[in-house]
Amino acid sequence: MNQELFLSSQVDLKAARSLKERLIKALFFFCAAVSILTTLGIVGILIFETWNFFGKVSFKQFFGDTQWTPLFAQKHFGVWALISGTALTSFVSIVTALPLGLLAAIYLSEFASKRIRSFIKPSLEVLAGIPTVIYGYFALTFVTPCLQKIIPGLAGFNALGAGIVMGIMILPIIASLSEDAIYAVPPSLKEGAYALGGNRLATIFRVVLPSSFSGIGAAAILGISRAVGETMIVVIAAGQQPNFTLDPRVAVETMTAYIVQVSLGDTPTGTLEYQTIFAVGMTLFIFTLALNLGAHHLRRNVLKGSL
């Protein structure tokens, strides 16, 4: 009988525990679900408002025009003016950041002594922690005046200065992810290259970098993705003129900057002008989603080790 008692109490304990466990599990599930629901909600609203927008404005007007003047009397909805602004500033930023970041990563992983590493790595992290609004001022009040001394005809607001400063902003991402990729190259490959009479540089350029190509590619794409979605720097320093141009010396307006412009103004909700920001937001979202998926795919290759 004693034994029976013992057994039954044990069963009860088990039941209590499993109830508690189920509750905790449900709580964890709820927390995980919040982020998914938020994402779904955002995408849902984007799709809904974009749908409304395209009820009034045709696809052809949106993608077949290069003038963007939805806030004026003479309305044009050529989104290419905004896409070109985004593409231009992002291009300048990646052209700035990729060589610098890659060389920094090579230096950190292959050449730097422990002491220098322990100094440079945190400095890069500080760079990543600077609020982007400060980068914006930096672009407008320091970088652009400096560039104006070299490049005559550079406007006060321009894609070049904003792009370069955005490049500095994404430099830490690129350097750090590239360094991870280079670090992940097995030492046996480097030894193999040394044993074949390769010197340090030849080993890096012929064996190490090709082997870490996926990771470096992922770093570049994530960097571009950050630049495409970056708002504050381009709002402050690139101007707010939706020029359809690939000339980095003039002012441009990016998709993000336009959204800010409308959100800050006194555009009533529900109007066509209001709905444009959702159509633009949707376009922006598709861009960054595609970039992030691309980077994710490359990084998965790195993790799997199939280079």
């Binding site: 097995p186 030894e191 290259a193 044993a195 074949l196 009479g197 012929r206 064996v207 280079l307």
Partner: protein, 264 residues
């Protein structure tokens, strides 16, 4: 050349291809080699045996200055190649490694390169142009006994080959540089018995053309492939003699205990 032949000119050690003299090596403060003096006979196969951690890998890594690639290592003493001190101040280790090739424990073909490009990797790493190098590729792969298996798939990735083929590809890669000495650091330890047998066969064929130094855990393998054998224990050279002598009638008790499998 049969084993009996090489015993006749009594001293194959007289004009060695490589020679170490009181060689000491450290990892940080750990002494991995203690005063190794060893002569490696020209065009013969030298096996280095001994239990794990006895310094045999460290020793051959000192022969092409790969030991110093690892941070925190250092050496003392001398190593000679054709009686020239390879640790001399005028010696560039990069040039040395062209003459003293190496094959590692785990096959390490370059993953981004095709079979053909792997064979040419050494030349390219040295900045040589390789437009017209079909002959080099074929010669190296023939010597590594891989040509027949890969001649129609030279464009495929090196990693698409089996483990044993990958290891022979690494041997071909080393041979493409026409080295004088080939160092092999347990080249069969990651391979199955059939692939190992192929590598052993290959080592037999390299004899007489190259000076081969092979580190191995497998005593049968050492007995089969080598002309002379060195037994290392705790960073010291215990015994060095003709392979037959080491395995049938060693001078020291420690050697006998090891080769008969009483420890190790």
């Amino acid at each position: 050349m049969l084993k009996q032949d090489i015993k006749k000119p009594k001293n194959i050690f007289r004009s060695p291809k490589m020679r170490s003299d009181n060689l000491k090596a450290w990892f940080g403060s750990h002494e991995a080699l203690n005063e190794i003096s060893l002569s490696i006979p020209t065009f013969h196969v030298t096996a280095i045996i001994g239990p794990s951690g006895c310094g045999k890998s460290t020793f051959i890594r000192c022969l092409n200055r790969m030991h110093e690639v690892v941070p925190g290592t250092r050496i003392q003493g001398n190593v000679y190649l054709d009686e020239v001190d390879i640790y001399g101040s005028s010696i560039n280790p990069v040039n040395l490694r062209k003459r003293v090739g190496m094959v590692f424990q785990k096959p390490n073909p370059f993953p981004t390169m095709s079979i053909r490009d792997n064979v040419l990797a050494g030349l390219r790493l040295q900045g040589m142009k390789t437009y017209d190098s079909d002959e080099v590729v074929e010669k190296a792969l023939v010597r590594a006994a891989l040509w027949d298996e890969v001649k129609d798939i030279l464009k495929r990735p090196g990693l698409s080959l089996s483990g044993g083929q990958q290891q022979r590809l690494c041997i071909a890669r080393a041979l493409a540089l026409e080295p004088e000495v080939l160092l092999m650091d347990e080249p069969c330890s990651a391979l199955d018995p059939i692939a190992s047998a192929k590598i052993e066969e290959l080592i037999h064929e390299l004899r007489g053309k190259y000076t081969v130094v092979i580190v191995t855990h497998n005593m049968q393998q050492a007995a089969r492939v080598s002309d002379v054998t060195a037994f290392f224990y705790m960073g010291k050279l215990v015994e060095f003699d003709y392979t037959e002598k080491i395995f049938t009638n060693p001078k020291y008790k420690k050697t006998e205990e090891y080769v008969t499998g009483r420890f190790g």
